[in-house]
């Protein structure tokens, strides 16, 4: 579903954000990207939805050669992807319903589809009863659920999440991660960049650890710290 070969990203100021990454993520996978701030987690995600273009290497997402994509084809790529951010990026002057519908409307979708897809997604994230409220009237967790509903409204096969729980308390964090787990069960490939140790250790999914723009470890059913669960750290 996602494949990177020899991908590097050098910023104009000379910083190597990504330094020769090879990576395969299969259909229906749930993957954590972990590492300190500034190790290239967000940069890697930005490369996948073509917010940035790699300096070298091949990137394929859902069969699309992202690194060679013409500018005019970027919207088509973005419709195959859902993206969720730490700061939600909701429009504060639109209701929850309008925020979710907006993502469909701007792709030129028919009103018929909007009327069908928006309730489906709001139902999935459990916000149907708050669809007429504005983001300012919601809790952080609810706002993030609205953002996830918006990301899903195009029926993407891949959901990219950049620190989705960074602004949330532990209870809301658990709620959001459970929601992502349920979405993954329906077959959506999910990539989550995070430095929340509790989240990673509780879910026990594939963990890709980045350091200085390189993959240092890649384990199935991993922990936040290499080979160590939280309980083991505490007891050791």
């Amino acid at each position: 579903m996602i494949s990177l070969r020899g991908v590097s990203l050098v910023y104009p100021n000379g910083v190597r954000a990504i330094d020769g990454i090879d990576l395969e993520i299969g259909k229906g996978d749930f993957v954590f990207l972990v590492g300190h701030s500034g190790t290239g987690k967000s940069s890697l995600l930005r490369l996948l939805y073509r917010e940035m273009t790699p300096s070298a290497g091949d990137i394929t997402v859902d069969g699309i050669r992202v690194d060679r994509l013409r500018r005019s084809r970027i919207p088509a790529l973005r419709r195959h992807l859902g993206v969720v951010f730490q700061d939600f990026k909701l429009l504060t002057d639109k209701t929850v319903w309008e925020n979710v519908a907006f993502a469909l409307q701007v792709t030129g979708a028919h009103t018929k589809d909007v009327m069908r897809q928006v309730p489906r997604c709001l139902d999935l994230v459990g916000l149907s009863h708050k669809s007429r409220m504005y983001p300012g009237e919601l809790s952080g967790g609810e706002q993030q659920r609205a953002a996830i509903a918006r990301a899903l409204v195009n029926n993407p096969k891949i959901l990219l999440c950049d620190e989705p729980t960074g602004n949330l308390d532990p209870a809301n964090t658990t709620e959001i991660m459970d929601l992502l787990g349920r979405i993954n069960l329906k077959g959506t490939t999910i990539v989550v960049a995070t430095h929340n140790q509790a989240v990673v250790d509780r879910m026990r999914r594939r963990v890709i650890r980045l350091e200085n723009g390189r993959v240092v470890t890649d384990e199935e059913r991993g922990y936040y710290f290499l080979g160590l669960g939280q309980d083991q750290i505490l007891s050791g």
Binding site: P75, R78, K89, L91, V106, T107, H110, V114
Partner: protein, 293 residues
């Protein structure tokens, strides 16, 4: 037709338009000033062209032959004038007829019957197709054998041509300047609304809206600025024409202002098209800069 889509689109345009009402008013006003100038210029230009067309069409080149010119030279000049494609008509006026014309024109002032001999030379009265070419044609006629002098009111014609050309150039320059200023102001207005909505635009790009789709509401906003400005200008021009023309006609009775027929509907159409085009181009540039980053 998908009314939901149209309603959504028009809602976006309306929201943009009302967000910066002050700036929109400035943009519309600037367009209006530009279009008023353009309209007045086109109107005056058409009137002047009509009037001066009359004057210019009456310009003739009087070609006087030397008294000693032979009949062969006369024929040579006649065929040369007939061959010249710049010349519309060339009439030969023998000196007898010239004297008749003179006595008629000077009736009561000079008694031509007192002349013991005819002092007038033979002449050709030449009219030229394009008034701009009068000096050149006159110069080439003068070189023909047997031609004595050539007269066409040199000073007056040259002055008139100069004034007409300078007037047209200055007018076009001023209008080009105003079109540019109006474009810049519309562009800045649109940039303000684009800036106010930059979060929305980045989210639109994120969820896969095409640049064309993102552009559309802003282009419509610019178009609206341009067309509303043009309509305002046309209103001002109509009022100005209704109140000024009768006064002008009274003040300048010898200028037949009311005789000038100008196609008002095509003028209005031209002005609206210019306004709309300025709006579209300016907003296209304004949004384009934003989308590229």
């Amino acid at each position: 037709m998908d009314w939901g889509k149209i309603k959504f689109f028009l809602g976006e345009v309306f929201r943009n338009f009302t967000r910066n009402a002050g700036m929109q008013a400035t943009a519309i006003g600037t367009v209006a000033v530009t279009i008023v100038l353009l309209g007045a210029f086109l109107y005056v230009h058409a009137s002047v062209a009509h009037l001066s067309g009359d004057v210019f069409s009456k310009i003739t080149i009087s070609t006087y032959m030397k008294p000693a010119a032979t009949s062969a030279q006369l024929d040579a000049v006649r065929t040369a004038l007939a061959k010249d494609e710049r010349i519309a008509t060339a009439t030969f006026v023998p000196k007898k007829e010239g004297l008749k014309e003179l006595s008629q024109r000077m009736k009561g002032q000079i008694d031509t019957s007192l002349f013991t001999e005819n002092p007038l030379p033979d002449k050709f009265r030449v009219s030229v197709r394009d008034p701009q070419l009068v000096p050149a044609v006159a110069a080439s006629i003068r070189k023909l054998p047997g031609v004595d002098t050539v007269e066409y009111g040199q000073d007056v014609v040259q002055r008139m041509l100069q004034v007409a050309n300078v007037g047209r150039r200055v007018g076009i320059g001023i209008i080009a300047l105003f079109v540019l200023v109006a474009g810049i102001i519309i562009s800045n207005t649109i940039r303000l609304t684009v800036f106010a909505r930059r979060r929305e635009i980045s989210i639109m790009q994120l969820v896969g809206a095409t640049n064309m789709y993102i552009r559309m509401p802003f282009i419509c906003e610019g178009l609206l600025d341009g067309i509303l400005g043009a309509c305002l200008a046309i209103g001002i021009l109509a009022i100005a024409r209704a109140s000024l023309v009768p006064k002008l006609a009274a003040a300048l009775p010898w200028v037949q202002i009311n005789v000038v027929q100008i196609d008002i509907s095509s003028l209005v159409l031209q002005l609206v098209v210019v306004g709309g085009a300025v709006g579209i181009i300016a907003s296209w540039i304004a949004v384009g800069r934003f989308l590229r980053t």
